[in-house]
C-alpha cells in the first residue's frame, strides 16, 4: 500500500504476475474517466475496510462471555472514532510526511488535513484524490488498535484502554507505517508488505502481546495448574464477524493496489480468497486431527489466518503459493492458540495467533515464495518492527498501569464489565448462567 506520489510507479513495476506480465498504465497521465473509476474503486475499498470494524466487534463479542458484551461493543465503537479522529489530527501526516522523509525514520507534515484543488485531480495520484487517500488510510489505522482490543477483552479497564488506543494509533502505527508505505528506510531496504501483514496486523499483534502480558489472564482461566476453557457465548456473532472481515478484506487487499487496475485487483481478489479458503481447510483438518472434533472457533480463526497470511504478498505470489500460504497459516493458527494457552498467555479471541503469528508468517512468506523479494529484508522488517512496537507498548501501557491502572477489580471482572463499567446488560431478560 506504498502510496506516496514519488513511489507509485516503482510499485506498479513490482506488481509482477505469475507469467511475468506487467500491468502497464499510461504513466502519470490518465484520462478523467480512468481517474474516476480508480477513485471509485478506492472509495469502495474504503467502505469495505470500514465494515471490518463491525466484523471485529461481532467476532470479539461472539468469542467472549455474555457479561462483557456491552463493554466490547462500546470499546470497538469508540476505537473507530478515536482512530479516525487522531489519524486526521496527526496520524496521516506522520505516516505520509512526503518526500522530505524519503528513506528516513521519521517525518511529520503538520497537524490536520486539507488540500488544494490539485489534490482532487490525478495530478495528486492517478488512483485517487487526497480525500480518498485519507479516508482509505484512516479506515486502516483504527484496525491496529482493534486487534489489541480482542486480546485484552473481558478484563481491561475501559478508560485506560481508550487512552492507550488513542496514543498507539496517533503515534506508533503511523511512524512504523511511514518506514515502508511512507517511503522510509524499510522501503529503501526493499522490505515488502503489500497490504500490511506486518504494518497493520503485526503492529496490532505486538501491542496485543505486550498488553496481555502486562494485564495477566482472566480470573479462572488457569486455575489449579490446568487450562480451563472460557467459552464464547455467541457463535453466530463470531461467524458473522469472520465473514464481514473476509468481505472487508476485498477492500483491504484489493484497495491496496491503489487503483482499479483490472489485472492487479482481480488477481489480488483471487489470491486473497484462495488463501482464506485454504486457511479454513488447514484449520479444519488440524483441529479435527488434533482436537478430535472440528472446532468452529478454530476454523473461523483459520479463515482469518489465511487472510492475514496473504496480506503481505497478495499481489506478488502465485496462485499455488497463495493456497500454500493460506493452508500453512490455517495450520499454524491452531497450534498457536494451543501454544499461547500453554504459556498461560490468555487471548480470548485468538488475536495473537491470527494477527501476530500469521502476520509474521505472511511477511516472511513473501521472501520465500516471491523470487523478487529477499527473505533477509523481510526478516529485518519483522524484527525491527516487533521490537519497536513492543517497547512502545511497554512504555505506553506500562505507564498507564502505573498512573491509573489498566485492569478492572476482581469483583468487577466477576460481575462482568457490562454491569460494573456500563451499568447495563447486553441481553436484558435472557436467563444466562453467569457462574463462570
Amino acid at each position: 500500500m506504498l502510496r506516496t506520489k514519488i513511489n507509485w510507479i516503482m510499485m506498479i513495476s513490482l506488481v509482477v504476475l505469475l507469467g511475468g506480465a506487467t500491468w502497464a498504465q499510461a504513466g502519470e497521465e490518465v484520462s478523467s474517466a480512468m481517474f474516476t473509476v480508480n477513485n471509485t474503486w478506492m472509495l469502495c475499498s474504503a467502505f469495505l475496510v470500514f465494515i471490518m470494524h463491525l466484523g471485529f466487534a461481532t467476532l470479539e463479542v461472539g468469542l467472549t462471555r455474555a457479561k462483557n458484551t456491552v463493554n466490547i461493543l462500546f470499546k470497538n465503537t469508540a476505537i473507530v472514532a478515536i482512530g479516525v479522529l487522531t489519524y486526521a489530527l496527526m496520524g496521516f501526516n506522520l505516516m505520509y510526511p512526503g518526500e522530505t522523509a524519503a528513506g528516513g525514520w521519521f517525518g511529520f507534515a503538520g497537524f490536520g488535513i486539507g488540500t488544494d484543488a490539485a489534490g482532487l485531480t490525478s495530478a495528486y495520484n492517478v488512483g485517487y484524490t487526497y480525500w480518498t487517500d485519507f479516508i482509505f488510510q484512516a479506515m486502516f489505522a483504527a484496525t491496529a488498535a482493534t486487534i489489541v482490543s480482542g486480546a485484552v477483552a473481558e478484563r481491561v479497564k475501559l478508560s485506560s484502554f481508550l487512552i492507550f488506543s488513542a496514543i498507539y494509533v496517533a503515534l506508533v502505527y503511523p511512524v512504523v507505517g511511514m518506514w515502508k508505505w511512507g517511503g522510509g528506510w524499510l522501503d529503501a531496504l526493499g522490505f515488502y508488505d503489500f497490504a500490511g501483514s506486518t504494518l497493520v496486523h503485526s503492529v496490532g499483534g505486538w501491542a496485543a502481546l505486550v498488553c496481555v502480558l502486562i494485564l495477566g489472564p482472566r480470573i479462572g482461566k488457569y486455575s489449579n495448574g490446568t487450562v480451563k476453557a472460557i467459552m464464547g457465548h455467541n457463535m453466530p456473532l463470531a461467524a458473522i464477524g469472520v465473514f464481514l472481515l473476509w468481505l472487508g478484506w476485498f477492500g483491504f487487499n484489493g484497495g491496496s493496489v491503489l487503483s482499479a487496475d483490472p489485472g492487479a485487483v482481480s488477481f489480488v481478489f483471487v489470491t486473497t480468497t484462495l488463501a482464506a479458503t485454504a486457511g479454513i481447510m488447514g484449520a479444519m483438518m488440524t483441529s479435527w486431527i488434533v482436537q478430535k472434533k472440528p472446532d468452529l472457533s478454530m476454523v473461523l480463526n483459520g479463515c482469518l489466518a489465511g487472510l492475514v497470511g496473504i496480506t503481505a504478498g497478495a499481489d506478488v505470489v502465485s496462485i499455488t503459493s497463495a493456497i500454500i500460504i493460506g493452508l500453512i497459516a490455517g495450520i499454524l493458527v491452531v497450534f498457536a492458540v494451543l501454544f499461547f494457552d500453554r504459556l498461560r498467555i490468555d487471548d480470548p479471541v485468538g488475536a495473537l495467533s491470527v494477527h501476530l503469528v500469521c502476520g509474521i508468517w505472511g511477511t516472511l512468506a513473501v521472501g520465500i515464495f516471491s523470487t523478487a523479494h529477499s527473505f533477509i529484508s523481510q526478516l529485518i522488517g519483522v524484527v525491527v518492527i516487533g521490537v519497536f512496537c513492543s517497547i512502545a507498548t511497554v512504555i505506553i501501557f506500562g505507564g498507564l498501569k502505573m498512573v491509573m491502572g489498566v485492569r478492572v477489580t476482581p469483583e468487577e471482572e466477576q460481575k462482568g464489565l457490562d454491569i460494573s463499567e456500563h451499568g447495563m446488560e447486553a441481553y436484558s431478560g435472557f436467563q444466562i448462567f453467569i457462574s463462570q
Binding site: K228, A229, G232, V290, Q291, K293, S297, L338, G350
Partner: protein
C-alpha cells in the same frame, strides 16, 4: 397433599407430559435445570482447552397433587421418562401443608386440581 418434584431428560418431556395427561394430571410447572447424578457428564473442548460439563441439562417438573394421586403421578412420570439408561432421572415427594388458588381464593385439596 404432596408436592412431587421430578427431574427427567429434556427430550423426554413430551412423553412425560403425554403420560401425565393420560393419567388425568393436567396441572404442572416446568423449569429447566442442570443436573449432576450418576450420569457422569462429558467433556467439551473449546479452542483446545477442555470444559468439563458435569452439569447436564435436565427438566424439572413440580406437580402438586392430592394424596390419592401420588402413586398415579409417580407411575405416569416414570412411564414417560423411563429408558433404562443412566440419566433417566429422579422423583422426590414432599408433604404440602397448604395450597391456595389465587383466582378464586380456594384453599386445600380443592385448590390443587
Amino acid at each position: 397433599m404432596k408436592l412431587i418434584i421430578a427431574y427427567v431428560q429434556p427430550h423426554k418431556l413430551n412423553d412425560v407430559k403425554q403420560s401425565l395427561i393420560e393419567a388425568e394430571i393436567t396441572k404442572m410447572s416446568v423449569t429447566n435445570s442442570l443436573g449432576c447424578g450418576q450420569q457422569m457428564g462429558f467433556t467439551e473442548t473449546y479452542r483446545g482447552a477442555e470444559v468439563e460439563i458435569n452439569l447436564l441439562k435436565k427438566v424439572r417438573l413440580e406437580i402438586a397433587v392430592n394424596d390419592e394421586f401420588v402413586e398415579k403421578t409417580i407411575t405416569a412420570i416414570a412411564d414417560g421418562a423411563h429408558t433404562g439408561a443412566i440419566g433417566d432421572g429422579k422423583i422426590f415427594v414432599i408433604t404440602l401443608d397448604q395450597c391456595y388458588r389465587i383466582r378464586t381464593g380456594d384453599t386445600g385439596p380443592e385448590a390443587i386440581g
